[in-house]
Amino acid sequence: MSDEAARLAAFRKDIAAWIDEACPASLRGRALGEDSIVWGGKGWAFAHADQKDWFDAAVAKGMTAPMWPTEVGGAGLTRPEEKIYREEMARLNAPPPLESFGLWMLGPALLHFGTPEQKAMHLPPVVRGEIRWCQGYSEPGAGSDLANVQTRAEDMGDHWLVNGQKIWTSYADKADWIFALVRTDRSAPKHKGISFMLIDMASEGVTTRPIRLISGKSPFCETFFDNVKVPKDYGAGGSAIVGELNRGWDVAKYLLTHEREMIGGGARGLLGGRSMGEFIGSLEESVAQDPVIRAEAMALEVDSLAFALTMERYKDRAEGGKGVGDASAMLKYYGTELNKRRYELLMSASGSAGVEWDGPHGSLAPEWLRTKANSIEGGTSEVMLDILSKRVLGMPSS
């Protein structure tokens, strides 16, 4: 065994012991549902003491953001360590202590584009679950054309005056802050003149309205900015703009790549750790014997396992410094289409029990409908295929 392997083996033992001790048994092995996620934020209330204990322990050890630097409150793990951490978390059936758009999206943006002041101001509260962020990209009517930003921020000397409307803002009604694309130069071409701005949701003039989906209630909102004053500088030296002024599209693109990698693999749902076959095996016997259902279940199992390996391979590649870049569009495309197929089969296998809003399989039906947005949100499958063909395969433009 190499030194490195020995070191990692020791790390595995230690981290497993820590998880085992810090994560209360009551949290283990539960199906991960919307109601068991810890999102944090000013308005956050833990469901019970065990959940708070696990969260506190993780914050103390930096394990809410395992790969972030220790200076901002992370644990500073290397990629192989982080992989082992996730493996042990899965093995011990421990839920993530904290999830948030701050961890997934704002953090990576600030770590890459932020000033030291911005990092110091915004990252520790994210790690500690004190501030909950939401993302303001899409606008009504713009659809896949994300750079078609109409929300404008006018330069008023010491502050920006923001007016406009965002749509598909997840949890805007529960978030403390928003990172949003705003147009700061209306005379520049479409992709120029956009800035990446951090706005306090408590500001006067910010309102939200939830969006009802075909699957029922949703975390998505419309968010309105009506003469919102955003200070150019948030006191501690942190500018409201991340990256260069009018170069927000670069930040957005970087984050989109990041988001794609995440969405592709982020299928959460009914099956939990169970295989498709176990689910089908739990149904009426005739279902498992139906060749149409069985053939598709087998194909899904094969494709899902191979895709999971691909997610790992791409994460390793990204960590190796080679980056993943536009190829992340593949993860987004493949992962979301796979998840839609998975839910179509679950519905088909469940028969008439599956079509109830709240039948014997719980939230299966709304989850199924919700998956239909997977291949739309964060860039449609069609946009992903365009990116792959043009930027990865080098196909000519028409």
Binding site: S138, G143, S144, D145, I167, W168, I211, R212, L213, I214, G216, L283, E284, S286, V287, D290, P291, V292, I293, K340, E344, M347, S348, S350, G351, S352, A353, G354, V355, E356, W357, D358, G359, A365, W368, L369, K372, A373, S375, I376, E377, T380, S381, E382, L385
Partner: protein, 373 residues
């Protein structure tokens, strides 16, 4: 069989009339309104359909019906599907009217829209009449029925229910089953409406010692299939036609959107990748339309020989509706995901109809069996 699948002039007139009336009286907005009000269908609307002869589409003129036959019934179902018009049409006017052939008084009431029927056949999550276990025990001169039926369309609102019960044999036997015609208010029968994604009426029926007499038996005791099989075929052909309409309605909405929506400064319908998918979808619709028309023609010409044609239609319609609604939601993008837009209603109805009276695998296997494997 050299049956032409082309529409006759009469059929085209029927289709045009139905389409016009439905557009005015039962657009998707009507379904949305009923859903928001927690209502499965509009009784007033059903009376108007009855007045046009739709509820008597399969009832002979001698019993007060319109006697238009199965192809015509399919055309009506397809047009209803295209706008997601909710009514007890298939349960009552198509299925029950076929099962109750010869029962002139009941047929007259069905045709008049006064009597709404439901069919209670399945007990598991998949369509399987021969696996019925609900038992009817002989007590004196009559029967006592106990058991549970699920996924009963119009089950919560129907006036009467055709209940498939086992009078002998074991679950899995096609023989030993008997079809009973039971008043929905009879003692011991309880009904639980289920909230299904299509906002239609699908109920669970519990029978606890429901009493029935020989008068209530449809056809012969222990031989339900003689009356049930033709009724199921009629219903399957009807739901296939409805699903063809659902597919066509979703496709039309989507094609319209492609021609009108702009992104990246272009009409999205000018993107070749979407064009090819739209053309493929249209091809599937055309092929399915043939299968649906053929099922109707066969039921009219030679109902005993129509089983394969009916299963072919249901299998094709299930697959095609599935494709149409998936492409429909995806091509609409974000707006298609909002409840405020109509395309989602098509997806929901397609899913429920896919399961009703036999799913894709059930009917594809029937076709395969008819073709020798």
């Amino acid at each position: 069989m050299s049956l032409s699948l082309l529409e006759t002039e009469d059929e085209t007139m029927l289709r045009d009339a139905a389409r016009g009336w439905l557009a005015d009286n039962a657009p998707v907005a009507a379904l949305r309104k009923m859903r928001d009000a927690g209502q499965a269908f509009d009784t007033g609307l059903w009376r108007e359909m009855a007045a046009m002869g739709w509820s008597g589409v399969l009832v002979p003129e001698s019993s007060g019906g319109a006697g238009m036959g199965h192809r015509a019934a399919g055309i009506l179902a397809e047009e209803m599907g295209a706008v997601l018009a909710a009514s007890p049409y298939l349960s009552s006017a198509v299925i029950a009217a076929t099962a109750l052939q010869g029962a002139s008084e009941k047929l007259t009431a069905i045709a008049g829209g006064e009597l709404v029927y439901a069919l209670a056949v399945d007990e598991g999550t998949k369509h399987a009449p021969e696996r019925a276990r609900l038992h009817a025990d002989r007590i004196g001169n009559g029967f006592r029925l106990s058991g549970t039926k699920v996924f009963v369309a119009e089950g919560a609102s129907a006036d009467r229910v055709l209940v498939l019960a086992r009078t002998s044999g074991a679950a899995g036997d096609a023989l030993g089953l008997t079809l009973f015609d039971i008043d929905a208010g009879r003692a011991g029968l309880s009904r639980t409406a289920k909230a299904t994604v299509d906002s239609r009426d699908h109920a669970e029926l519990r029978l606890e010692g429901v009493e029935a007499t020989g008068e209530d038996v449809v056809g012969d005791v222990d031989n339900a299939m003689a009356v049930l099989a033709p009724a199921l075929r009629a219903g399957q052909a009807g739901v296939a036609a409805e699903m063809l309409g659902v597919a066509g309605g979703a496709a039309a909405m989507t094609l319209g959107y492609l021609k009108e929506r702009k992104q990246f400064d272009r009409t999205i319908g000018s993107f070749q990748a979407l064009q090819h998918r739209a053309a493929h979808l249209w091809s599937e619709l055309e092929v399915t339309a043939s299968a649906v028309a053929h099922a109707g023609r066969m039921l009219d010409a030679d109902p005993e020989a129509a089983e394969m044609a009916v299963s072919l239609a249901k299998a094709r319609a299930t697959k095609t509706a599935d494709l149409a609604v998936r492409e429909g939601v995806q091509m609409h993008g974000g707006i298609g995901m909002t409840d405020a837009y109509d395309i989602g209603f098509y997806m929901k109805r397609a899913r429920v109809a896919a399961e009703w009276l036999g799913d894709y695998g059930y009917h594809a296997a029937k076709v395969a069996a008819a073709r020798g494997f």
